[in-house]
Symmetry: C2
């Protein structure tokens, strides 16, 4: 069973030139749920002065209706972000530790080791509060400043996060450089460390390799897949990072692979069309334009 | 060893809104060779009244310099096209038979069976002339009019083309619908039939699955890969068909997979930039914009 998490409301919107209103953000989340998504990364508990697109996280979460069966996630980069998330209704907190120290200092103002120490301190608190804690290892496949990342370093981070209580591990290709061989390389290094802990991938299609890497990850046993509606996305602190793999295109590929997702293509396409009216140049997903195949009656 | 064939001068240019001049076409071919390509599908021996972009095939071939070690290919859809190609310098003729009868009637004005009969008649003549004959099975993974194709039908076509003397078989995803599972499905059906005959794939990235399908094909032993510089491409008779997988993006993916191609990224990027000046909306390859990784000194 593949758990597809739409990170559009967070990763998708966080770098857009246009700031979405509370109503618009709510529309995105509720339409994703209406289209069948059961896991949404809805907010980032980041300083809105640094990422104005992510302001109003608490208000958005409060304004959402009850959505039975839907896991709502918040991204957090530090202890303060986790505390903010714990004061809301989110079911899951996704905490980012970067494999690259250079990137970590720019993105979260601390070294990787400090970030990991914060994770270790807060993970038990999140679990005690009855929420799921997910460890995201960002720049797992490469950093714009440091280049390729050591798979052993990534494995050491995964090991430490699992020891601290991470319920799941996500490997994030923050800047969209991974190819299938990179997925395999990191997976080989992490195999013993993961030891049954569910893991997944967060991929950007910056160099056209995102869907190939997804296929490779699924072949290696990944069960959590991040994607963003419309293929929106980027990273505020990564030069030239571009869109996530697109939810609607992942839906198509998984369908052809025989993987049931429960998603509704027409409903997803309608949401892509709605987004395209607002940020026409930012849509990188292709399904809404190309159409389903075979054409459904 | 992977043989990467750039089909940009043919598949890339054949649907562009702008018709390239002879000089421009020659620039594309010679720059591809300068960037390291050793196999170019340079022309289509199609009726220029049906596809005006492809007019002047003979003139283009005559105007090209000697290019030692480079295999020049011509596409042909019928006997007349093959005869035209044999009167030129091309090293290889790629003959298209469509798995879909409906598409075959629109694209080449005959049924699949008639097309196959023409192939069987001309293949020995091509070989006797000392040229390579390649059988392309188009719409191998799906047809816009008939939907999914039977893998057994595709295998029967491959079998007949090999019996007639095909030196290589290419499976073409003419309308960009294949996912890795489709590649595997067709490969399973064709495994016994191929029996050592080199085979490859011609993929369009219309639904974001092109590079994943390429990865799957390489894992199954494909050794011939079609791609088009800039990810240009389409099919004049296929609604909403879009670009081929892009040569420069395939180069990146293969490089990360540890597959040597001998290509020069900077030179490819320069050609993409040249194309982007002429057909800015048609570039679907991402590498020229995203940049190589890791950044090379």
């Amino acid at each position: 069973m593949i758990a597809l998490c739409d990170v559009g409301p967070r990763d998708g919107l966080q770098t857009l030139p246009r700031i979405f209103s509370l109503d618009e953000k709510r529309h995105v989340v509720t339409e994703l749920v209406a289209a069948g998504l059961r896991h949404i990364e809805a907010v980032s508990m980041v300083n809105p002065q640094r990422v104005p697109q992510m302001a109003g996280a608490e208000e958005l979460l409060e304004s959402l209706p009850d959505m039975p069966g839907v896991t709502l996630s918040a991204l957090a980069l530090n202890r303060k972000g986790v505390e903010r998330a714990l004061a809301t209704r989110v079911d899951e907190i996704r905490f980012v530790v970067l494999a690259s120290d250079s990137f970590s200092r720019r993105n979260q103002n601390m070294d990787s080791a400090d970030s990991l120490a914060q994770f270790a301190a807060i993970a038990p608190i999140v679990k005690q509060a009855g929420r799921r804690i997910v460890g995201i290892i960002a720049t797992a496949y490469g950093c714009p400043f440091e280049g390729e990342m050591s798979a052993r370093r990534v494995a050491a981070l995964a090991d430490a996060m699992i020891a601290a209580g991470a319920d799941q591990i996500l490997f994030a290709d923050t800047i969209g450089v991974a190819a299938p061989a990179d997925i395999l390389r990191v997976d080989r290094a992490c195999r013993d460390v993961l030891d049954g802990v569910p893991w997944g991938v967060h991929l950007h299609n910056t160099r056209s390799t995102g869907y190939a890497s997804l296929f490779a990850a699924l072949e290696r046993g990944a069960t959590i897949v991040d994607a963003a509606i419309g293929g929106l996305g980027g990273c505020p602190f990564a030069p030239r990072a571009t869109g996530n793999i697109a939810t609607e295109d992942v839906h198509y590929m998984l369908d052809r692979q025989g993987v049931a997702t429960g998603l509704d293509h027409d409903r997803l396409s309608a949401l892509v069309a709605w987004l395209a009216e607002r940020v026409p140049d930012q849509i990188t997903g292709q399904l809404a334009r190309a159409g389903w195949f075979p054409v459904r009656d």
